[in-house]
Assembly symmetry: C2
Homo-oligomer: 262 residues x 2
């Protein structure tokens, strides 16, 4: 009988812990959250590479949401399992941050039950979209906001946003690349606020279809510039037709603010 | 006698106008203002390339200040001469901006006397340096601020800043790469202000030696963190020794706010 068998009974796994991370990043330089084949630079890959160097074993980081290329996060949540129980979590955060690029940072880490899964345990997410409204583009906010040079009526956008709240079939607001069968989602809040030359759309829901937030913002912009009536939202719900909604707003203005759990 | 000689007297130049531009840019992606040999990406080169496509003749853009790699501008000033008198200046701005990368923008253009020279006519410049003070780095402000994780005493920095005002020999605050003989400059104002988790150093003077603003900020930070007394400024003036001043603060936090003319 080998020593290993003496230490762990047959089939028994070594002890491990499940670690929940809150991660912020500037997505401008990355091809989105999700690891991809072919050497494309992604947030997940950078996090896994940094964590491997700290915990000294292979790591898979599971994210709550797969943000697209150019999309930012203030509070993305991810979890990973580690058999390295020697490192205190505060030390793990500091050591990993020192190995991450400066545009990615772990804000916090905590031990969570074995069953916690960043994506499946999530009960909601909040996104914010920043529209910078001015004739001259704001170079200091390059790739952090969507620059819109025509005036927008925030009051009309706010009225339209209210029509999004509740449980609806968001098929018409989903990218045609979204293959999910169930396109019913619940939007808890959708607020349009003016903030120093910008319009911020903040939206919280139990889940979002592919490019749903950016398609909602694109539709609100068409309403805000007066091209469509406020009632356009109802038309998109009624038809379920992507072509009735507005263009997909660019990724630059979008930030995953936080992920909600029970 | 050729037609050309009939149109313009011998040695007479075709009519031209001198155009003053106010330019803003996010310097993160560029190797500074000044055009360089070897295909390096610079602001001046991008501006010249865009203007050539609008005015349809070779253009040299003269900048008021040669900002370093990674340094930003809200109000850089430049001028260029054009023999194309057909395009209204508002149209020239719009056409050039549509041909510029999104992180460079011409804010305004105006016709100025033949003798106006963006650098030689300038009587002063104002720079602002942003220091973000917090334990966690601000990824959304990546390359827009200098992240400093230790606490800084803004009051001490403000007292030291006051000692910089006036006419002094700034030799000790200049990069050793600066070869100018006259190192006397006049600082009109140097203010340290706290602004929502950041410390902003705003400095106006009649001229700045190479890396002088960043060396001043590096010195103020050493004073702000308590490593040096407020009187350190006087010591640097007295010795004129670069090694008595603080380290060169990184370019990310620095913005050329405006250039002053009579």
């Amino acid at each position: 009988m080998s020593e290993a068998t003496l230490e762990h009974g047959a089939g028994e796994l070594p002890p491990r812990r499940n670690v929940k991370l809150v991660v912020a990043y500037n997505g401008a330089a990355y091809h989105g959250w999700q690891r991809q084949v072919g050497g494309v630079d992604t947030i997940q890959q950078r996090l896994e590479e940094a964590l491997v160097r700290v915990v000294r074993h292979p790591v898979i980081v599971l994210g709550a949401g797969r943000t697209d290329a150019g999309v930012h996060a203030a509070g993305q949540v991810a979890n990973f399992y580690t058999t390295n129980l020697a490192i205190p979590l505060a030390g793990l955060v500091a050591a990993t941050n020192s190995r991450l690029p400066r545009d990615i940072v772990i804000r916090s880490a905590e031990g969570v039950p074995e069953s916690f899964h960043a994506a499946r345990s999530a009960v909601g997410k909040t996104y914010r979209y920043r529209i910078y409204v001015a004739p001259v583009r704001p170079v200091e906010l390059h790739r952090l906001v969507y620059h819109y040079w025509r005036p927008l009526d925030a009051e009309r956008m706010s009225q339209a946003a209210a029509a999004l709240v509740g449980e609806h079939d968001f098929r018409g607001f989903a990218s045609s690349a979204d293959q999910r069968d169930n396109t019913v989602r619940r939007i808890d809040t959708c607020q349009v606020a003016e903030a120093g030359g910008e319009i911020h759309v903040t939206i919280r829901g139990d889940g979002f279809l592919y490019q749903m937030v950016r398609n909602i913002v694109g539709t609100l912009i068409e309403i805000g510039r007066g091209h469509w009536p406020v009632e356009r939202i109802d038309k998109v719900f009624a038809s379920g037709n992507r072509s009735d909604a507005g263009p997909t707003a660019p990724p630059d203005g979008l930030t995953l603010l936080c992920v909600h759990y029970e």
